[in-house]
């Protein structure tokens, strides 16, 4: 456990660009050397609101993508939905302003050593880290299919260049405004029974992750999901971000989603106990 955030550092970084993409902001930050240690699934904790803000807690954002090439050296991309006071502040920051951030944090996606058939499922802006993951999986010789979903077209995040790193991309919206009308889980049972999937990587709302776990249970499909719990510290010291996880002996442990996650084995999460009283171990 103490090795998990071994490479994380607190740095002051500069915003290189901040663009609106649909309902989200795509923010590119010059972070320097730390990109070398960022892996798909890692997140960053950013101080928000400026020095005299009444917002005292950092905000956690999934790292969408990093690059150590290009004219600026190490850069990190975030896809931010401006839905709370902290994320709104971040979305209003101008090019050239500084950010105090801690990264990389958390347990990243596990990358198979052998080529496998990988299915990447993203809900809303949860798709952001999946494109970087797709590139890594492709480089390992995996077949990479992707399914994205959201309530409506403006909430789908699917950059054109990202589409190049996948073998296929299917989109579902609940209102049918783009792609097929329905949910990302609709095609899963048949894909699994056809043997078209070995590993599912998912990122999105908890309800979606739980639904995927329900479908993959009692199958051989591995489900690695990036969970979302509210985090006060992001570095493992506050115990606010816990999820009930079933240990091998069947008992429950409350694990920190910031350190033992955000990527967890979907089959070990006791989804039915999330937000419930698990009281006795």
């Amino acid at each position: 456990m103490s090795s998990i955030n071994r490479h994380s550092q607190q740095v002051v970084a500069t915003i290189l660009s901040n663009k609106r993409v649909g309902q989200y902001h795509q923010i590119l930050i010059n972070v320097g050397e730390i990109v070398k240690h960022c892996k798909p699934g890692n997140f960053v904790a950013i101080k928000v609101g400026g020095d005299h803000s009444s917002l005292i807690l950092r905000r956690a954002f999934a790292i969408s993508r990093v690059s150590d090439r290009g004219e600026y050296g190490g850069t990190m991309e975030l896809i931010v939905a401006p839905h709370g006071s902290g994320s709104r502040w971040l979305c209003t920051q101008e090019v050239g302003s500084s950010l105090d951030l801690v990264a990389p944090l958390g347990t990243p996606f596990g990358i198979p050593t052998e080529p496998v058939q990988a299915l990447l499922i993203g809900g809303g802006y949860g798709s952001a880290p999946l494109f970087g993951l797709a590139e890594v999986l492709k480089a390992r010789g995996c077949r990479v299919d992707m399914i994205l979903g959201a309530s409506t077209v403006a909430k789908i995040y699917a950059p054109i260049e990202g589409k190049r790193s996948v073998n296929s991309l299917k989109i579902y919206t609940e209102d049918g405004s783009t792609g097929e009308m329905g949910k990302v889980t609709d095609p899963l049972p048949s894909l699994i029974s056809e043997g078209a999937v070995d590993v599912i990587y998912s990122c999105g709302p908890m309800g979606m992750l739980q639904a995927i776990s329900g479908i993959t249970s009692n199958t051989d499909v591995v489900h690695q999901c990036a969970v979302e719990e509210s985090m006060a510290c992001g570095v493992g010291i506050c115990m606010t971000c816990v999820l009930p996880v079933r240990k091998s002996d069947g008992s429950i442990a409350m694990l920190r989603s910031c350190i033992d996650g955000p990527v967890m084995d979907g089959s070990s999460v006791a989804w039915e106990l999330v937000g419930k009283n698990a009281m006795t171990p």
């Binding site: 955030n5 607190q10 801690v102 006060a232 510290c233 570095v235 506050c238 816990v242 937000g275």
Partner: protein
């Protein structure tokens, strides 16, 4: 005052610390996580998360809500239990040269005694913090610090067990009418020092769901929002019991905040919630505090403790 001759050390009862800045219980987990950001032996001591007799899963999520300049938490004393804690966490801290203050919490008076007995012969512990003030328990009756009789019984039980082995620091709740009178009771019962303050009981209602936001409904308020309450509590207790050392806490984020608590009467300062927003907050607070004390002309931390209580020039 030159930096080299400035005395930054402090004492709580018979325990000596090279610096007066400590972690706050429950805000540094087992210590390993923060050691990623600075060496733990640079601060005064690590105060560990309150440990109970048995493993405990704590309260359901959501466990936190940010509030203006503060936050509510309802962890509910999640922890591994004293056996696993002594087997894994304490040896690791000692190996990493951290000074250790172990915080204990019991469900009954007897449990505090049993926990104290388990600590008696453990090498590397500097002091015991007796948490009688955690608000995140199902039965508010468990808040021993809100009732003088129960507070007294707990401290006597720990005192009897520990004899003179380890200094006893008793942590009090600000959610009482007269904190100085509770302080007096626990000092008479055998406390060597006091920790002030634990969180204040609070609630946030989610206006979308129209239910209390926290899984545990109520939670403990911490962070800069509570600092004036903490300064007041420290000031009142130091005024009533000037000889009893105080470990001050509640919303300390900068060296200036720590200095304020020392002026009010604290011999040491714990930094809790500030570490969530800044993993190196302890080091920043410590460096700023030292510079501030030196620039104000103090020769030692001790000289500044309770300095705000001196007679004013206008009416001596």
């Amino acid at each position: 005052m030159r930096e080299s001759s400035f005395d930054f050390s402090t004492t709580l009862g018979s325990a000596w610390f090279p610096a007066p800045v400590f972690t706050a219980s429950g805000c540094a987990s087992s210590g390993r996580e923060l050691s990623q950001f600075f060496p733990l032996d640079e601060i005064g001591a690590v105060v560990t998360k309150s440990v109970m007799l048995k493993e405990r899963l704590g309260r359901p999520t959501p466990r936190m809500a940010e509030t203006p300049s503060g936050m509510l938490n309802s962890i509910g004393l999640q922890g591994p239990g004293i056996d696993a804690f002594l087997a894994k966490d304490v040896p690791w801290l000692v190996e990493n040269k951290a000074r250790v203050i172990v915080s204990i919490a019991g469900e009954t008076v007897d449990e505090y005694g049993v926990l104290a007995r388990r600590l008696r012969s453990v090498p590397g512990i500097s002091a015991v913090e007796v948490n009688i003030s955690c608000p995140n328990v199902d039965n508010r009756g468990l808040v021993f610090a809100c009732d003088p009789e129960s507070a007294k019984a707990v401290v006597e039980s720990v005192r009897r067990t520990l004899a003179g082995d380890l200094p006893i620091i008793v942590k009090l709740s600000p959610d009482v009418t007269n904190i100085a009178s509770i302080a007096r009771v626990v000092v008479d019962a055998g406390a060597d020092a006091l920790a002030l303050i634990n969180t204040l009981l609070g609630m946030v209602i989610n206006t979308d769901t129209m239910f209390p936001h926290l899984g545990g409904k109520t939670g403990g308020l911490s962070g800069p929002a509570i600092r004036p309450v903490a300064v007041r509590a420290i000031f009142q207790v130091h005024e009533a019991l000037p000889k009893v050392p105080i470990l001050g806490m509640g919303g300390v984020r900068t060296g200036r905040d720590a200095f304020e608590m020392i002026l009010a009467g604290a011999s040491g300062v714990s930094v809790g919630t500030a570490s969530f927003g800044n993993p190196t907050a302890l080091i920043d607070v410590q460096n700023e505090l030292k510079q501030l004390l030196i620039s104000k002309g103090f020769n030692s931390v001790q000289e500044a403790v309770g300095f705000a209580h001196r007679p004013s020039k206008a009416n001596p």
